[in-house]
Symmetry: C2
Subunit: 155 residues, 2 copies
């Protein structure tokens, strides 16, 4: 398991959001600019037929030294339980990967215009996938109360 | 954009599925074993309160030379449109990242017992996140007919 893998960003986010604050992402319009040195418009052919994207990105502004491997209170809130890093979606996590869904507004050349992407300006993007309903969770979803509370003002 | 990032697997999949075939993942029971050299059970504290996981993994059996950057017919099916690599979820994609949701059956020490994870035996896992309903797509989802057809026997 000492193996490592090297990834190259496929593009970068341009967003009015430059701070790492936690809430109010729903109305944020941003652009994912795919790397012109790596791709042509073929890479996004047909993407406009999808309403939503799944985006994998890197929390590159998180200092690797700050990454947590154990348990912590989400957002430092002691009224919520201390849960393991893999039981929450905090940024300061091993490999610093973010995954989220956003609305695709338009595809303009190699620019993907999106709404509700929770990534700040200049975030490196590692993958973009179309959202298929079939790839959502199968069966009834169960999650603890704190996880609903943390999301109250997120979008 | 010539920057690269190095990622270290947080664990590995043990699965009865050893082939790269495309369908019938829904009933597959597998285990994600988190790396004992990196984590203690603190890392998964509270995870059992969630019914589903979002797993980020590496399609490490895809030869990097086989990665596509343009358009192709999903599964080579010429009756489906040729669409860009970022308009489909094919394995042979830049950075070779897989993202999917599976059911969490049990947490046993650093072993996560899961159902419906579409990753073969020994797949390196890069992240595990709890699934929050709120992180699903907001608003109505639209996707083209071929994307429903490709999923007919997937789970």
């Amino acid at each position: 398991m000492s193996i490592t893998f090297t990834l190259t960003p496929i593009g970068r986010v341009t967003s009015p959001r430059v701070d790492l604050s936690d809430d109010d992402w729903g109305a944020v319009d941003a652009i994912i600019s795919l790397e012109r040195a790596l791709f042509t418009e073929d890479a996004v052919a047909g993407l406009g037929a999808f309403s939503h994207l799944e985006v994998v990105y890197l929390f590159d502004q998180v200092d690797p030294a700050a990454v947590r491997t154990g348990a912590r209170h989400p957002r430092g809130r002691r009224d919520w339980p201390a849960v393991g890093i893999f039981a929450q979606r905090a940024k300061a996590r091993p490999n610093r990967l973010g995954v989220s869904r956003c609305q695709l507004l338009a595809v303009v050349g190699l620019e993907l215009h999106v709404r509700g992407l929770d990534a700040i300006d200049r975030t490196p993007v590692l993958d973009v996938k179309p959202w298929f309903e079939e790839f959502g969770p199968r069966g009834e979803v169960r999650q603890p109360p704190w996880s609903h509370e943390v999301m109250a003002d997120y979008w």
